[in-house]
Symmetry: C2
Subunit: 655 residues, 2 copies
């Protein structure tokens, strides 16, 4: 992830102000601030949210930079300048939305279904919380609180004395208010969030599933409607369940997450099967080519899952996060950080005619509806938030990436460092850097859902040299890549080699509880053999197909690796083994998977593509497997569409 | 078809004025005519087109009714009343569009991309031509000519002296102008049609495929964009090729029809794979559940194909028409003629949550965008136009339905009558009613593409009794169903039993050329065994599935016939034979096909629906075929969704 975050920091975030300028968002803020004259620019009432999402991304990034570094100073200047613009655009009573301030639309809070005023407020609040947490500065938080107070004064249930009983057509304000409550301790923000969540599903917006207004979320049986709207709302459900302990909300979160994951999630973790309405399809309705899988929906799924992980402690939520991060989410941004995918299909046909626009199957510099790029930036800049947790009894490692993680063991700080080449390599070395010596605590490692075989080895040694976590080149240094396996250094005690049945708990965690000493090391090694994956037979779209996976990565075949061959006539020969080859030169360095394919003989189909099958003696076969053999190269799905335009497939026919 | 036309005449068309009144279309005309005050009603600038399409349907129907019958008088009154309203709404200069006259939108011809002014004009012209042809009355034709003259005065190429170089975002005016040329002999209408056709694809509307503005039609390699727009434009291409003999247009029609049929047409003849943009998908991108298959697109496909049939004489165009009429088109209207489908999916899942709206998978009384119902009405009322043709050397029977057809043999009239129970029964009896006796002419019968076995028998007899075509109960009466096969009555000469290789020409016609005598009879018998049909292996969506067909009918399974069983776990056992049972009591009388199925054991899938397949010894199978056997009943696809809501599938998994 370090390389991806680096691109985000070096290319993604710094280009934000330029792109927000050229798309008109900053112009619209200056318009509202009275600093400029002219026409409103942009086609949507949620232009402001792109600015806020960028501010959130930049704020998290500020927290990662040294304030006196040149990059830190430059970014802080950009952030301050734009915060100044936002503050200037805010109206005296706290209201802020440049679209409505420019006189577009029906007027304040008159078109809640489409106006996105509370949605934009939510992103403003999230940016403000991020800025405050990362920098300690209050300026944007003040703006956000004034807007939140304005909302609190205007929105409430009938009988509350507030003038408007209403919700926003696009959930987002709900999680934001919970975060604002956490940041400020002001309980009315939490209550307002609860009010908004529970007023969905009562027809205040006409009862459409698209707006999450068909069924109250406490009663809903499955996820439906616009995927991002649904998942932002569910993130708030999990937040509220965490803060209030309400069992009904807790159950709704679990039930709807399960319905989503078991029946409406793509192999990549992407969600949203329909282009029309950017919405969830029916159960098992998961077309590969026509997958919508909006990048924002992947982000929303991660946000929902993370809140469920914290609420329940179950590892499966982080299993889905891992899958979504490495596949459905990461595909949304190009390797160079400069172009984007709004939709993330699992297939592009030979000879695909791309008609451009936001839904292009080709990477695009920016979008008319530019929700995704700044959303990617903010997640990428805050990725480490999703990697580890502490429950006061130790540390839980949800994701595997090199870095240092701090937790708490009954009040005492614990620090571990992780060193790994994951996802290319399955070895994850965890070194205890700081630990109380007077009590036991638990190092919990998530055993990924995809993993059927792993080993764990533990070595307990005193540090031979005094090098702390900052020592460089020290053989005991956790940041060093040449960690020695424990069969070279004598290995300490029980259990030295443990298999999954013996140790992973039913909730997906491998828990190592003991009294730790600084320098203790655990080497967790996941078997990374490439594998073939099928789908539930009710997934009609991929019947008779398999996908190639390795570790947490979904693979795809791309036209670029198969010059002169159409991909749509390709059949994977599943009787031949898969091989692995690391290619440092390819796509920024990827491990490829090599397989054996057959090219289906091209059929002289004539004018009608539906041949009678009745003549085959009753036995129906789905095309011949005979064909010309050829070598098949699969690359990680996240890296697709970074070379010339061409076809792509995740699911490969087997006959 | 008689029963379907009867429902259209008795229920469909008569309800038109009521529905147009309640949806606001007639109100809008009164508004434009100054006969009423108030707000414009309806959400679209093409509200008028629904009125015109209904007028066209009613006009064709008037041609079928005796003018002095009560129904004829009632319908003529409705038509006259509405024509009066249309005439009153027309502006003095000939312009007519109630949306723009009501002050909505950008002003006359200022929003050609979305304004639908020329589209509405096209439907007005088609209604006027129909009314004139069916009744001989000039009133609506005068209105249409005045609008056409207004268009001709305003639209033209740069340098033509006309003020606007533009096209409509929705083709329709083009075919209408060709028809107006045919009706009036006024050549400038043909030229204007040619101008509009050729100005598509030059970016006048921004270059979008949706509006048929990405590529000039002469250069296009495949069908793309909005399906109805594409096919109305192609119908005009065929019309122009017919009228002008232009080889480039002729070739474009053939090329694009072939590309559509071979790669972008559903088994039902439906077209348009994407909900988003109501557009064609990529080649072989034909999802079953998410099929759009707009009813209007089926109608447009029939219009295009018929013009190609007349242009080329090839039977395959009428093969597609037959398939589309009996399946993709006919499903669009309920058996009772009172409710409609806008989209025609090939699958509805168990537990499908319908969210209503125009794109509902449930039949709907009327639509917000009500293009389809009056389009069905007009085709249904003019269906016989698509059944037969004459080329001056005899008669070509394109479709098989009971009725009398007139043609021409070197200037002499020829009349044949057809008697058949098609599509339930494969026997088609054709009797020569009127013929010159001094010359040879050709009776041409289309051998359907789906038909792999047929027989033809010819009997030449003098009428034993004098009964002409109107004789009733006469054994020689062509309307009688008990036509004797020729092995009972002695059969006359060569060839008495001919198989397809021997006689059907390569272009799909069985041509019987001879000197005919009145009373000569040909019995054409198509083998109607039910059959299993597969799909090109590039159609990813239905890999591993087959469909059941019989004759021209595509079959489906519906939840209503399988109470207590989910359809999505059903597997067709293709090793067991199919049986046929006619059910006069079911769905207005249908022949059902009975098969053997297995219910796939329900999988305890857990939370992740993508299991690893690598452990199966390398051999990947797509779910077990073991399961609980059960009897499967298939009904014709056109009759689906006429009982309780439930699941439906055309394509059935075979393992």
């Amino acid at each position: 992830w370090a390389a991806r975050q680096e691109v985000n920091a070096r290319v993604g975030i710094p280009q934000g102000p330029f792109l927000l300028e050229s798309a008109g968002n900053l112009h619209d803020l200056r318009l509202a601030a009275g600093e400029e004259r002219g026409e409103f620019r942009g086609d949507y009432p949620f232009m402001d949210s792109d600015v806020y999402k960028w501010l959130e991304a930049a704020s998290w990034q500020l927290g990662r930079l040294h304030p006196d570094s040149p990059e830190g100073r430059r970014l802080a200047d950009d952030v301050e300048r734009i915060i100044g613009l936002v503050a200037a655009a805010q109206q005296p009573d706290g209201y802020l939305n440049t679209w409505f301030q420019a006189g577009k639309g029906a007027g304040r809070y008159r078109d809640l279904r489409w106006g996105h005023e509370l949605y934009c407020a939510g992103h403003l609040i999230q940016a403000a919380v991020a800025h405050h947490r990362a920098t300690g500065r209050e300026r944007l938080l003040d703006v956000a609180r004034r807007f939140a107070d304005h909302l609190d004064a205007h929105f409430g249930a009938p009988g509350s004395g507030k003038p408007i009983d209403g919700i926003d057509g696009h959930p987002q304000i709900e999680t934001a208010l919970v975060e604002l409550y956490r940041e400020t301790g002001e309980r009315r923000y939490l209550e307002l969030a609860g009010y908004f969540v529970d007023r969905h599903g009562h027809g205040l917006l006409g009862g459409e599933a698209y707006c999450q207004d068909r069924v109250p979320v406490r009663e809903a049986r499955t996820v439906e409607g616009h995927a991002v709207r649904q998942l932002y709302l569910l993130a708030a459900v999990a937040d509220l369940a965490t803060e209030t302990g309400e069992a009904q909300l807790h159950a709704a979160g679990e039930r709807l997450w399960s319905a989503m994951t078991a029946t409406k999630t793509y192999l990549t973790g992407g969600v949203g099967a329909h282009h029309h309405g950017e919405e969830f399809g029916g159960p098992y309705e998961l077309p590969a080519e026509r997958a919508y899988c909006e990048t924002c929906a992947a982000i929303a799924s991660i946000q929902f899952s993370w809140r469920m992980a914290l609420l329940t402690g179950d590892a499966r939520y982080s299993d889905l996060i891992e899958r979504t991060l490495f596949n459905g989410f990461l595909a949304g941004v190009s390797l160079d950080g400069q172009s984007w995918l709004y939709v993330n299909p699992l297939q592009v046909r030979d000879g695909h005619t791309d008609i451009g626009g936001d839904q292009s199957a080709r990477r695009t510099r920016w979008f008319r509806c530019a929700c995704c790029p700044p959303n990617v930036m903010r997640l990428m800049a805050s990725l480490e938030h999703y990697f580890a947790s502490t429950d006061g009894r130790g540390i839980q490692l949800h994701q595997f990436a090199t870095g240092t993680f701090r937790g708490d063991a009954s009040g005492a700080p614990v620090v571990v460092s992780v060193s790994t080449d994951y996802p290319w390599d399955g070895r994850i070395a965890v070194t205890v850097e700081e630990t109380p010596t007077d009590r036991e605590w638990t190092l919990a490692l998530r055993v990924p859902q995809w993993c059927t075989s792993f080993s764990v080895q533990r070595r307990s040694t005193e540090r031979r040299t005094g090098g702390g976590p900052d020592g460089v080149g020290d053989p005991g240094d956790p940041e060093s890549r040449d960690v020695e396996p424990c069969d070279v250094e004598p290995c300490d005690v029980e259990p030295c080699d443990v298999d999954v049945e013996a140790t992973a708990d039913r909730d997906g965690w491998l828990r190592l509880a003991r009294s730790w000493k600084p320098g203790d090391r655990v080497v967790f090694e996941l078997d990374m053999e490439p594998r073939l994956t099928g789908a539930d037979p009710r997934v009609d779209a991929v019947r008779g197909c398999v996908a190639i996976e390795r570790g947490p990565l979904v693979y795809c075949v791309e036209g670029a690796d198969h010059p002169g061959s159409g991909l749509d006539d390709l059949v994977l020969d599943t009787t031949r083994p898969l091989a692995v080859k690391h290619r440092p030169d390819l796509l920024g360095g990827v491990t490829t998977v090599l397989g054996s394919g057959l090219r289906r003989p091209s059929t002289a189909a004539g004018w009608w593509p539906y041949p009678s099958r009745s003549g085959d003696g009753g036995r129906v076969t789905d095309g011949a497997t005979a064909g010309v053999p050829f070598d098949l190269v699969a690359v990680p799905y996240y890296a697709w569409a970074n070379r010339e335009d061409g076809a792509m497939r995740v699911w490969l026919p087997t006959s």
